[in-house]
Symmetry: C2
């Protein structure tokens, strides 16, 4: 009986999770199977279920239960499931109370209109048309920050939504280090452009073979198909309905070459995180990844650190050749490894390589802070964008569609999200370094394409905890250090130095 209040609360919370997971199924189905005319009905169903879930979580009944459970569990150790759960629920419960229904409705109106305007304006390369919507989105984010509250700087409040416990000042310091170290490396590579020939990728790869290879690749990384499914969509994503049903998706088109494959590895990384959460946490509020950055670290780790490594392909290239015999005839594994690691500054974030990608993020992170702090006017954003692209990557977009209008995020007022992509890359490098150091078998297993020991380390140090610990604390527990740019900088210097014969950079 010592846990009576806690157990009652937990059962109630699991019921709310059931509704949230049903919502995730409705979303998944909308992207994978829904016919075009199904959208109005689906929107109704989603809105009804969202309202039900919201009402279940925000009622006084839950507040009273929570208080009773906190009282009952006050001696639970900090890292117990009970204490971690209550910390998380208390934070969410208090947070939702900050935002009035009026504000929530207004936010959804503003972002709804901005999203539609963004899609139309990107199509027409019409920044002026999008400008008032973006101004409204910036104002909304500023208002959100004020409601949420902050001690150091306004942007902290926005970042906290996606990366709890992380401070803007820390991110800025780490990103500056990445920038300082990467820009010269990118410049040096630019002077050796001929070193890598990736023309092998510029062929048509039959979709049926891509499908089979993606299935093979996900499995080879450790994604469990008895608890998963690979769907086909326009914009790849992964989604979890509980640790025993975590779906991945990818996009197939003959001209996308092997990009469906790396998208699959990326989503499999996200999905393995969710598949690895401890059974005891399944269906509870902490039974999910802890932050956007940590989630991204798992996808980037499997897509890049493993999926674009020579060791992986030395073990699995034969399988790839079996699926694409004519496309890969006479191609060596080294040639293929070089092709999938070509570095080339480009305009579009989602098409960027492993190295230049972070420059796209740092640009957005810096512009976002300037917008939120009112140091930059929305009207001046396109010019600021072009200037930074030139500084960081040495390229400049000819149109806003290929520049400031390329991403959906700002139309959703999702300021604070972009940095988590690069945080993911940095966490991935730091986790890999720690794993290799803590278990010597990992290095040799990876060298022959076997991810088993690596996955075991991730399960034990990252996955099983779900959201019991915030990202900074999880990183400290897993690697013994706070996040730093060093492991990533070391990794890219080694990898791309070797690929491009640049042994003296930095």
């Amino acid at each position: 009986m010592l846990n009576a209040h806690y157990e009652t609360l937990l059962e109630k919370l699991k019921t709310i999770t059931d509704v949230e997971k049903a919502l995730a199924v409705l979303d998944w189905d909308r992207e994978t199977n829904m016919p075009e005319q199904g959208i109005a009905g689906r929107t109704r169903q989603i809105s009804t279920l969202s309202e039900i879930a919201h009402r279940m979580f925000t009622g006084n009944e839950l507040g009273d239960l929570l208080a009773a459970a906190e009282n009952e569990q006050q001696d639970a150790p900090y890292d117990s499931d009970e204490a971690s759960m209550l910390r998380n629920v208390r934070r969410d419960y208090d947070e939702q109370a900050l935002f009035t229904p009026e504000f929530v409705r207004r936010r959804s109106e503003i972002t709804g209109a901005a999203g539609a305007a963004w899609a139309a304006c990107r199509q027409k390369n019409d920044f002026a048309g999008f400008r008032p919507h973006l101004e409204a989105a910036v104002a909304l984010a500023q208002e959100t920050a004020e409601i949420y509250g902050y001690t150091d700087e306004k942007y902290d409040a926005l970042l906290d939504k996606y990366e709890r416990g992380m401070k803007t000042a820390d991110v800025r310091r780490i990103f500056d280090e990445v920038k300082t170290q990467t820009v010269p490396l990118i410049q040096a590579i630019a002077e050796h452009q001929g070193a890598i020939d990736d023309s092998v990728l510029a062929q048509d790869f039959p979709v049926a073979a891509q499908r089979a290879m993606c299935h093979y690749a996900a499995q080879s990384l450790g994604y469990d198909f008895s608890r998963g499914h690979l769907g086909e969509v326009h914009h790849p994503f992964s989604t979890s309905f509980g640790r025993n049903d975590v779906r991945i998706t990818t996009r197939f088109a003959p001209e996308y070459a092997v990009s469906s494959l790396f998208a699959t590895m990326h989503e499999a990384g996200h999905a393995m995180y969710e598949q690895g959460i401890a059974e005891a946490l399944d269906g509870t509020p902490v039974g999910k990844g802890t932050s956007s950055g940590i989630h991204e670290s798992q996808s980037r780790l499997f897509e890049n650190q493993v999926g674009r490594s020579l060791g992986y392909w030395q073990a699995h290239f034969e399988e790839l050749q079996r699926h694409f015999p004519s496309q890969l005839q006479g191609v060596s594994v080294e040639q293929f490894y070089r092709a999938i690691n070509k570095v080339q500054p480009s305009l579009i974030r989602v098409e960027a390589d492993e190295l230049t990608y972070n420059m796209h993020i740092i640009l957005r992170f810096e512009l976002e802070q300037a917008l939120i702090n009112s140091d930059l006017k929305v009207a001046d954003l396109p010019a600021a964008w072009r200037e930074k692209m030139q500084q960081l990557l040495g390229v400049m977009p000819e149109t806003d569609s290929k520049g400031v209008l390329q991403d959906i995020h700002w139309s959703m007022a999702a300021f604070g999200y972009f940095p988590t992509y690069t945080l993911g890359n940095l966490y991935a490098a730091q986790f890999m370094a720690a794993a290799r150091q803590q278990d010597a078998r990992i290095e040799s297993d990876l060298a022959r394409g076997d991810t088993g020991t690596l996955l075991a380390w991730l399960r034990d140090n990252i996955h099983r905890h779900g959201s019991k610990f915030d990202a900074p604390e999880l990183c400290q527990r897993a690697t013994g250090e706070t996040l730093s740019a060093e492991p990533f900088v070391h990794y890219v210097r080694q990898k791309f130095g070797a690929l491009y014969g640049l042994h003296n950079v930095g």
Copy 2:
């Protein structure tokens, strides 16, 4: 303001429909995409949402709203949407109040255990092992009938669940006529077995081509893919998430020959019914097919009356040959038409042809009544089954697995469901006869494989009404007559008389 209560009620009911449709999506996803280990989580989600929907429908709030709306709408014409909706909701509301939570829980326990036992016992040909579960299911059905109530006979109460307003005595009279007329026809055909050679179907048909052909066939019948989707499953079904998202499924295996095709046509028939419901009824309690029998009439009509007709194949056989060039080389459309209409008494209901199928149903209908009326003991059921198979079809199962254990229905205590399959066949024939008589273009359009005018008639006379009218009334409105065996008997005599050269039977 004259409709204020009604509109409030309707909005509340549509919200309940949203939850029910979300449940249908969870079901669909379970059958089409869910990984094996997802079942426990999915069962929780379904149970939580079912409880939410149940609670929304049964509260006093809805009862009060319903009473207020009835009072407000008392002058609404009988066939108005308003009056029809209120009749249906009142019936459902009063009905759910009859069954206590204790009974509902016990029912789910009994059928849950019986379902598991059935699957295991069918596998092992163990009727003795299934017997106590079936006895419990019969007792449960008898108890259900007593709670539900009836005036003439107990079985009426069970039939009413699937075929509202239909009386057992009427079904018995009509089925007796079908039996009287069909048994001699089947016997006469048995004496002409050599008349049809269906060996063309005993080949491997590549799955990819089957998939493409099923897509073509569904579309050719009038199924709207912009409001639909074809999924792949083990046991084909169709499901609706609203008139603008009605899914169909089929099963592919090389050795199933064209059976995936006829399963697709069958499910497309069900789905076109739901796609054809009036927009004003969408999302409301009457925005769905009115009874199992009427639903089955639409699937049987498109599978058999259209899909196994010479006219359809004269128009579409070339397409079929294009998909299966080697399998159908040198085969004429007449040969194919004859092959897909071969009549042969067999043991398994779901594999039966258009003519012998009804004998499987009549057998079950007669045995069900005897069980419910306690005229037959469960222990004596296998012997009774064998005897009736011999009488009706001249074949006898060597094992109970191929006899009394073949269907899942009784383990679910779904007594009263079986007759709706044959009611579907009879309604289909009566609708076809009426449609042909009322619009002369239908006959000539069908003769060239065009279902447009037929579908328009069905939309206007059947589909658009949803469940505004019970099946007997809908039949009267659409055809000017109550249901009779005559159109079906006439149809099969003509069709199979010609196929087998039996111009003097009956």
